[in-house]
């Protein structure tokens, strides 16, 4: 009987061994493979379908496409149709006013979080995150109860004798705007808090020590340092509210036409899939343009962060 002698291997590992090693060690792109597959299925493939539908004439029979030919007709029609321009303009102004209002309402909350004590911080976090735990549809329905003809607002105002007739808030632009701001406010506050608490608390004390008032500290130190947070929050709120469907549909009373509700009508009611695809593509492209603008403006005010690389 001979003793087993351990000899170290000096030959190169096989492909299988290298693959197993790469998978287990998490090197290279392997860890991202599941995510890439999911993205291909839920984002890239539908996008390709959207493109092909938008640039073709199709015939639909019993819910299936029976013929498809290339055409730019839907795109040119859309771009020359005044209804499209009005609808997109409405979407844009709604999303922009929502974004601006979210900054105006969200910033003081984030500032309070920064300067407040332990319990203030906890309360703000709970109040900001709690609404995210319920569906947007449920939160939107809640506004029906508040803003309706016999809702809380009208009952209170009439009870106080301030008005005789209930105000018509529901199914107006105002109802949509109020709902939009409330639904999207957490998405603005959370990035603001994240960015503002990243900086050393002593920076604020240094400003005060150097003679800055509360307002001076806010204006010269806290505000400039929170620009990245405002940028991130604004980009998120804009994207979500520009493409939103639920809030305008429910609080606008079904006749509030923005880009998303228009696409819904085109696809679901008129079965004009090509039209709907072109509208979706236009919505996507115009949204990207605004996002790039937000990024450029944010960069303009955060040049100092580039210094880190130098």
């Amino acid at each position: 009987m001979t003793d087993a002698v351990f000899t170290p291997r000096i030959d190169a590992p096989s492909f299988g061994e290298r693959l197993a090693d790469a998978l287990l060690s998490g090197r290279g792109i392997w860890p991202a493979v599941p995510a890439i597959i999911v993205l291909m299925v839920v984002a890239v493939i539908p996008f390709v379908i959207l493109l092909s539908l938008g640039f073709s004439d199709i015939e639909i029979a019993r819910g299936d496409i029976v013929s498809q030919t290339f055409s730019l007709e839907h795109l040119t029609k859309a771009l020359t149709d005044p209804l499209y321009w009005i609808t997109f303009q409405r979407s844009l102004s709604l999303a922009m006013s929502t974004t601006v209002l979210c900054v105006l309402f969200g910033y003081p909350v984030a500032y309070l979080f920064l300067t407040g004590g332990k319990w203030t911080k906890r309360l703000i976090l709970i109040l900001t995150i709690a609404p995210l735990l319920t569906s947007g549809i449920v939160r939107t329905y809640a506004w029906l109860v508040i803003l309706g003809g016999r809702g809380v607002v009208n009952q209170t105002l009439m009870g106080l004798g301030l008005i005789d007739q209930p105000l018509r808030i529901m199914n107006t632009h105002w109802a949509v705007l109020i709902g939009m701001v409330q639904i999207h406010l957490p998405v603005m506050i959370l990035p603001l808090i994240a960015v503002m608490s990243r900086h050393d608390r002593q920076i604020v004390e240094a400003a005060e020590n150097l003679g800055a008032s509360r307002l001076g500290t806010l204006r010269t130190v806290i505000l400039p340092l929170s620009v990245p947070g405002i940028g991130t929050g604004a980009a998120l709120v804009f994207t979500l509210s520009y493409t939103t469907f639920v809030v305008p549909q429910l609080l606008g009373g079904g006749n509030y036409l923005n880009a998303a509700t228009m696409i819904y009508e085109q696809v679901v009611f008129s079965l004009e899939w090509s039209k709907g695809s072109v509208s979706s593509l236009l919505l996507m492209v115009s949204c990207l343009v605004v996002l790039v603008a937000i990024a450029l403006i944010t960069n303009r005010f955060t040049r100092w962060t580039k210094g880190r690389e130098a």
Binding site: I203, A207, A212, P224, T302, G307, R308
Partner: protein, 360 residues
């Protein structure tokens, strides 16, 4: 350039301390962080608050700066009570531990911040900023951002930033913590010289005794919210008021003894004078002891190990009674250090240099 007060103010300054801390107390809930602290600081003096973390030194600094209000006692600058003066109106400049530079401002904007907040004309402010940057040898760095500077440069920006506001009192909160050991030693000397040239009345906070001995005119050793001793570096080191101070500053050897008739017997047979009677603790610094051949004395032991610290050799000697005594000897050219495990005797060089405290 001396920056002391001129005219009628100077007369006040000669009689009133620049900074007066009178019986200041501070509590957080049930914890007393500062307990009856009193300290007067004269024009141009550098005083260090020295103590372990949690001794209240940073709390005292924050009370002087106005970030926190004291619960009792008074803080005054040039005789004026600071209690009603808000943090942004106090003539106090703080150099923070983290420097707390404004990351979104250039070096020039950082340094000019106090002038901008005070609403000074831009041209005048630019001149002041340039001269402050020259003072800290940072001319040419005006347009850099803090993230583009080294730790030492950031510290100098932080100093220049408070210099432009011409504070009556300069507060420095562990300013060397973020620097590596070699740079730290250089910056300590440079900063002391700079402060002395400008004649700024300053308070340093540190837990590093070497830093305190290097930087200060006087050291206030703090312990659990109280000031244990205030004295110059030499006196603190050579004549510590309490065993705590002796233990905290420098290396010390302690042993218990019995005092009677105005003196206490030392283990090597000599006597040290004391007014205490009964059980006492005796302290001797390692450099006040020397080693001799074993037959020469009554205080004997063996060398456990020795440690090479530059110009000194530090011997750890285990005595017959079981104590470990540290003895420092100057390194001598070509002479070999005493070998480990060698039998030796210990002799006190100067009995009057021993400190004697009441036994705890």
């Amino acid at each position: 350039m001396m920056q002391g007060p001129t005219g009628p103010l100077r007369d006040i300054a000669t009689t009133v301390p620049v900074l007066g801390i009178g019986a200041v107390s501070k509590r957080f809930g049930a914890t007393t962080v500062l307990d009856n602290c009193s300290l007067d600081i004269a024009e141009g003096e550098i005083v260090t608050l020295l103590g372990p973390s949690g001794c209240g030194k940073t709390t005292l600094l924050r009370c002087i700066a106005g970030f926190w209000d004291a619960d009792g006692g008074s803080i005054s600058i040039d005789g004026q009570d600071m209690a009603p003066v808000p943090v942004n109106r106090r003539p106090v400049g703080v150099v923070f531990q983290s420097y707390a530079l404004f990351p979104h401002m250039t070096v020039a904007q950082n340094v000019g911040y106090a002038l901008r907040m005070a609403g000074r004309p831009k041209a005048e402010a630019a001149k002041t900023v340039a001269s402050a940057l020259e003072t800290v040898s940072l001319s040419g760095f005006e347009d850099r951002y803090p993230a583009q500077l080294s730790g030492g440069q950031q510290q100098r920006v932080a100093i220049a930033r408070v210099l432009v506001m011409e504070p009556r009192v300069l507060l420095l909160d562990e300013p060397f913590n973020a620097l590596d050991a070699k740079l730290r030693a250089t910056m300590q000397v440079e900063l002391r010289q700079l402060i002395k040239t400008l004649g700024l009345t300053s308070i340093f906070v540190t837990h590093d005794q070497e830093e305190a001995l290097t930087m200060s005119d006087r050291i206030a050793v703090m312990r659990a919210g109280r000031i244990e001793q205030v004295a110059g570096p030499d006196e603190i080191f050579d004549r510590p008021a309490t065993a705590y101070v002796a233990d905290f500053i420098g290396t010390s050897n302690f042993w218990d003894a019995e005092a009677a008739g105005g003196s206490v017997a030392l283990p090597d047979g000599q006597c040290a004078k004391t007014e205490l009677v009964g059980r006492v603790r005796v302290m001797a610094r390692p450099h006040n002891l020397r080693l001799g051949p074993p037959g020469n004395g009554v205080w004997t032991g063996t060398v456990a190990f020795h440690r090479n610290i530059g110009p000194l050799i530090e011997y750890h000697v285990e005595t017959a009674s079981g104590d470990t005594i540290q003895v420092a000897a100057m390194r001598q050219d070509r002479a070999r250090p005493i070998a480990d495990r060698a039998a030796v005797s210990i002799v006190v060089i100067d009995p009057a240099g021993c400190s004697i405290f009441p036994a705890p």
